[in-house]
Symmetry: C2
Subunit: 194 residues, 2 copies
């Protein structure tokens, strides 16, 4: 097929506005879809648990007529990567100098400790000052246990976290950061259990 | 402390009615709570995903005024055991001679294949003829791929599945069956990623 002569090729300006104003959660959901399509990992956001106070039955099935969102007792995302169990949460703050620990529920801290104890990979993705950092669960727990502070100073994130590059798609390729932290230079082997 | 003399010790009859009429799902939820308490594993039922068609805000937070249940594209339970990713579903049938494959969604079959490919442990717990069987994901896939049948004959479950014993608590201690199938006599090692 030939293009008509009078259509000039426009110089392509590739400018990503992809993540402007996009919530971190939406970026991560998109990243997970990308991982699913490219078969890199199986990671899903858990549905928010709800409490149902009124329900009825319709021709389309059971309908919720009144419900409330419940607080989750685990982290929002979990799944399978390179044979490992992975679980994490995405947190955002508008604070400039420190990340308030009030963003993490007490039962989530307990859960992070348990995931570490049982041999899983767990971390937080924290968006702050327009950057996203991967902070290992073990670093988070260590910070909490050795400090009386109610927030994590930004410089701690800069020192201990992995700062992620923004890309076109996926915007935050967080498994590259996971590779850097957990699988770097390692001849990891997982045995497939069938 | 002394008991008064006139109270005679009654002979103890321990009869479990625990699972009479109890749905398999409820039994499994109870088993998972037990595993959490005894710190054997971290396994949770995923909340059923819902679609919200009307919502409002109240003093208690966001309220769902109309919602529907959506079909899950993965299995109902997942978590972490002995450093491994584990995902499974609980299915029940009143059929006596075979388990209808219509009980398993097409996208769930696809998902089971992916979990196997990525090195996770995946299986079904099938309740049939008052027994619960653990059927390995790989056996399920092999059956589907080598048969044209629309149901799994009961004798296939008896031959390939692990029949579980009923107990007082937890009623179905399915991780014992997991040990038998996946970790038997094996010096498994998982490396904790911190």
């Amino acid at each position: 097929m030939q293009y008509p002569n009078n259509i000039k090729k426009q110089p392509q300006k590739i400018i990503s506005y992809a993540n402007r104003g996009m919530l971190l959660e939406d970026c991560i959901n998109e990243t997970n879809e990308y991982y699913l399509e490219t078969n890199r990992a199986l990671i899903f956001k858990k549905p928010t648990p709800i409490g149902i106070s009124k329900a009825s039955y319709t021709s389309h099935g059971r309908r919720i007529d009144e419900g409330y969102f419940l607080a989750p007792s685990t982290l929002d995302y979990n799944g399978l990567y390179k044979g490992y169990y992975i679980e994490f949460d995405a947190k955002e703050t508008k604070q400039k100098t420190s990340f308030p620990l009030a963003n993490i529920h007490e039962h989530q801290i307990t859960h992070i400790k348990k995931v570490l104890e049982h041999g899983g990979i767990t971390f937080l993705l924290i968006k702050m000052n327009n950057f996203v950092y991967l902070l290992k669960g073990s670093d988070l727990i260590e910070f909490i246990e050795t400090n009386q502070r109610k927030s994590i100073p930004y410089h701690y994130l800069e020192e201990h976290g992995i700062k992620m590059k923004e890309q076109i798609r996926p915007v935050y390729n967080y498994l590259d950061a996971v590779d850097e932290v957990y699988f770097k230079g390692e001849d990891y082997k997982w045995k497939r259990k069938s």
